[in-house]
């Protein structure tokens, strides 16, 4: 079953597809620059020692996002 969750709730090691960017302005542009467009596959890789930020695999690059940013990205997970 598919569920829509914010990216920061995606468990480590799991993959999901972007379905909506809630942010706007400069943050939205930055997310787009990373290649986070509709249906882009994202994998949660690793949390930092304090649990935030989290590193994600986005189109082959490893990018760390703070929970605030990741929370603004809605993904479709299984």
């Amino acid at each position: 079953m598919e569920i829509i969750i914010p990216l920061n709730n995606l468990p480590l090691g799991k993959k999901a597809k972007v379905c909506e960017l809630k942010s706007s302005g400069i943050m939205r542009r930055r997310m787009l620059d990373l290649g986070l467009i509709l249906d882009t596959e994202v994998e949660a890789l690793q949390k930092s020692p304090s649990g935030d930020p989290t590193a994600y695999n986005i189109r082959g690059a490893v990018i760390a996002l703070r929970s605030e940013e990741a929370g603004n990205i809605l993904v479709r997970a299984n």
Binding site: I26, D33, T40, S48, D52, P53, E68
Partner: protein, 738 residues
């Protein structure tokens, strides 16, 4: 860290870019690319210039240039900041775009990472919209090979319609082919047919509303307006009125890209927005889009989506992954180095190992150098006696200048020659972004930027370099916080002071084998205190004069790379170490002279230095120091390296530095002038927390463009240091511990 002549002082002050062609035949080549794709290595390999390279995004914070000769022609290579896009979302992207767009390079090389081509194609496609003289350099081919990633360069070149050259810049593979391609493209030897791509129908419609009118308006402006020289040049070379570029500018205008308008005004000398007709066309285009359900955010989404999808498609056709799990090793390493339990201990441990090796390794060469140089001194003195130089001139030159220099060289050189290569090793490996990743939550709590950790790492080398490095932070508020607090990280100029005092006062108390371990721990505590102070002051700034919430940012964790040991050593010794030493000597020599004069010119019974020290004494005493120490800190404003030499010189009744063959003699000297362990602690605290050196202040002024923030950056660490020293001294004295 980035300690080169580019970033240590000389280079950082010259950031505005002027490209001077020596001969009209010289070709200007822009070197662009995503951050951390080996752009600087390509630059260094081509030009032989030692621009510092490191494995973390955002090394090139300013345009660096160098040149090389290939065949019969001189090429001026301009290294522009690494960016993921040219959408001008940050200062670096703006600089990059402006140079490619208005700097009018004869060709642009885009360096891409073979292990992550799809993402890099994004920038390639965006650049193709602006310029056609493009060469794509697919770098890091060896890494790709190791990860079993194959790239069909020929197909890539066919798809993009521009030359594609595969390189491995670290081993200089493919560079000749790259230079050939640049040569051919700039001498019009090859016909290029750059790929043109369309956006979706709605966007294309909108562009058509503006585009033809923009051509008309620009042609008119060209004909009727008095243009400045640069823009006439741009116009005459058809840089502006180029169909592809007009298309791109039209789209940017519809998108409402204010930075592009500003740049056009700056480089072309006219404001497009003054043209009422154009405004109407733009408005029409926007209305057309919104009527069809495309608002501003959606327009941007669609533009980017088109490019990203195209990159995805090209990448699918040209890149083959023979091993889907090609990054699994990196993930395994990350799961240890950034793990909840081991992440931070490993980080502190690594720093500790570096310090331990530095302290242990530096002892022997220090002694050898000191013996050698003091040996030369006797010959110098003999020479002056032989030359019948007046005694005071001889004293001034030998006792004043030469001895200060000897101290600086023998104390500074060995730790630097050990510390720099070790630190560079971690940097090359790609460890520093992991440090930023590990520490980010602390910065977030302090409402500061996660990349501040990277600027702090640069500060270890040189605070001035760290301050220039703060450009990687695009939020102005957080950038200021990083600039103001950078001085809490001790630079290479302050390390020797800390190490000397630790060795004399704390390591001396334990038996031989434990000495270096105690020294290392003490130094670690000082550094950690500096980091804690950074968090604390950042937090206070965020709650007071620089109020605000943390801004959003993304941090890339690049793949680990095998450090190039040979290169690290050569670069560290010949480039960084000798350069920094040269700078220290340049400052120390005149300082030695002034101090000698101050210590030897007497007014009444006391020397000038004594008078100053007596004046400062009551205040200095409260802070656990004494008048001479405080005076030494003030006099070493030009360079922090000379604090200890000045203290020594001041303590000598004769007013010149003793031949201190061993640290024991230095210890005796300090003890005889009333030093206790409390004095030592307070000197270390004050060394960690006081005003930035002259070069750093100058850099702050340049970077912030504001006297106010420069003064604040001067005062905050100074006041912090005084307060902390005062509290420490008072508590220790009240408890009767000394």
């Amino acid at each position: 860290m980035g300690l080169t002549n580019q970033s240590t002082g000389a280079g950082v002050l010259e950031s505005e870019l002027k490209i001077e062609r020596i001969s009209p035949n010289d070709k200007v080549i822009a070197l662009a690319g995503n951050p951390n794709v080996g752009k600087s290595t390509v630059f260094n390999s081509l030009t032989g210039l030692n621009q510092h390279t490191g494995n973390w995004p955002g090394k090139t914070v300013t345009n660096a240039q160098g040149s090389y000769i290939h065949k019969d022609r001189n090429f001026i290579l301009v290294d522009i900041p690494g960016t993921y896009s040219l959408m001008a979302n940050s200062v670096e992207e703006e600089v990059a775009r402006d140079f490619v767009c208005f700097g009018n390079p004869d060709a642009t090389i885009i360096v891409t990472d073979a292990t992550c081509l799809e993402r890099n194609l994004n920038l390639v496609l965006q650049t193709l919209e602006i310029t056609k003289n493009l060469i794509v350099c697919v770098n890091l081919l060896d890494e790709a090979k190791r990860k079993k990633i194959h790239i069909n360069l020929k197909e890539l070149s066919n798809r993009l319609g521009v030359p594609v050259v595969g390189t491995n810049a670290r081993s200089s593979k493919g560079l000749k082919e790259l230079m050939d391609a640049v040569y051919d493209i700039t001498s019009n030897k090859i016909q290029i047919n750059p790929m043109r791509f369309n956006y979706d129908d709605l966007i294309e419609e909108a562009i058509k509303i503006v585009e033809p009118n923009l051509v008309k308006i620009l042609t008119e402006v060209h004909r009727n307006t008095l243009l400045n020289e640069a823009s006439i040049d741009l116009f005459s070379k058809n840089v502006i009125i180029d169909t592809q570029r007009i298309r791109w500018i039209s789209l940017k205008l519809i998108d409402g890209d204010k930075t592009l308008l500003k740049a056009m005004e700056k480089y072309l000398g006219f404001d497009l927005m003054e043209n009422q007709n154009l405004l109407i066309y733009i408005e029409n285009a926007r209305r057309f889009l919104s009527k069809n359900g495309v608002d501003h955010d959606q327009l941007r989404d669609r533009i980017v989506s088109c490019i990203v999808k195209l990159a995805e498609e090209i990448s699918r056709d040209t890149v083959t992954f023979h091993n889907e799990k090609y990054n699994s090793m990196d993930r395994k390493i990350d799961s240890v180095l950034t793990s909840k339990i081991f992440g931070i201990p490993i980080m502190i441990g690594l720093l500790g190992v570096i310090f331990w090796l530095t302290i242990t390794g530096a002892n022997y060469p220090s002694e050898i150098i000191a013996t050698l140089l003091f040996g030369i001194e006797r010959h110098l003195t003999d020479f002056f006696i032989w030359a019948e130089t007046p005694q005071w001139v001889c004293d001034l030159l030998v006792m004043g200048i030469y001895r200060t220099l000897v101290w600086v060289v023998s104390v500074m050189l060995p730790p630097m020659a050990i510390f720099f290569p070790l630190f560079t090793f971690l940097e090359d490996l790609g460890y520093l972004p992991r440090v930023a990743f590990n520490l980010d939550s602390f910065f977030k709590r302090a409402c500061a930027h996660g990349k501040q950790a990277l600027t702090m790492c640069m500060g270890f080398g040189c605070n001035a370099a760290g301050i220039v490095g703060c450009r990687i932070i695009d939020s102005p508020r957080e950038r200021l916080i990083a600039i103001i607090t950078n001085n809490f990280v001790p630079c290479n100029g302050r390390f020797p002071t800390l190490i000397a005092i630790i060795t004399i006062f704390f390591a001396g108390m334990v038996p031989g084998t434990l000495k270096s371990i105690v020294s290392t721990l003490a130094l670690l505590i000082v550094i950690i205190l500096g980091v804690v102070m950074t968090f604390l002051i950042s937090n206070i700034l965020s709650k007071t004069i620089l109020k605000g919430l943390p801004s959003s940012f993304t941090l890339e964790l690049p793949p680990y790379r095998k450090p190039q040991i040979g290169r690290i050593i050569i670069r560290s010794i010949f480039d960084r170490t000798l350069f920094v030493l040269g700078r220290a000597i340049a400052v120390a020599a005149p300082a030695g002279l002034i101090i000698w004069i101050m210590a030897n010119v007497h007014v009444g019974a006391l020397s000038l230095l004594d008078h100053c020290a007596v004046f400062l004494q009551p205040f200095a005493h409260l802070a656990g120091l004494d008048g001479y120490i405080l005076m030494a800190f003030i006099l070493s404003f030009p360079a922090n390296e000379i604090v200890i030499p000045i203290i020594i010189m001041s303590y000598m009744a004769t007013g010149n530095i003793l031949e201190l063959d061993s640290l024991n003699e230095l210890r005796d000297l300090l003890l005889s002038h009333g030093w206790t362990w409390l004095t030592a602690v307070c000197v270390m605290l004050f060394s960690l927390m006081h005003f930035p050196c002259g070069t750093t202040c100058w850099t702050i002024k340049k970077e912030t463009q504001s006297l106010k923030w420069t003064i604040i950056s001067f005062l905050i660490p100074t006041i912090t240091g005084i307060v902390i020293c005062f509290i420490t001294a008072s508590v220790v004295r009240l408890l009767g511990l000394v």
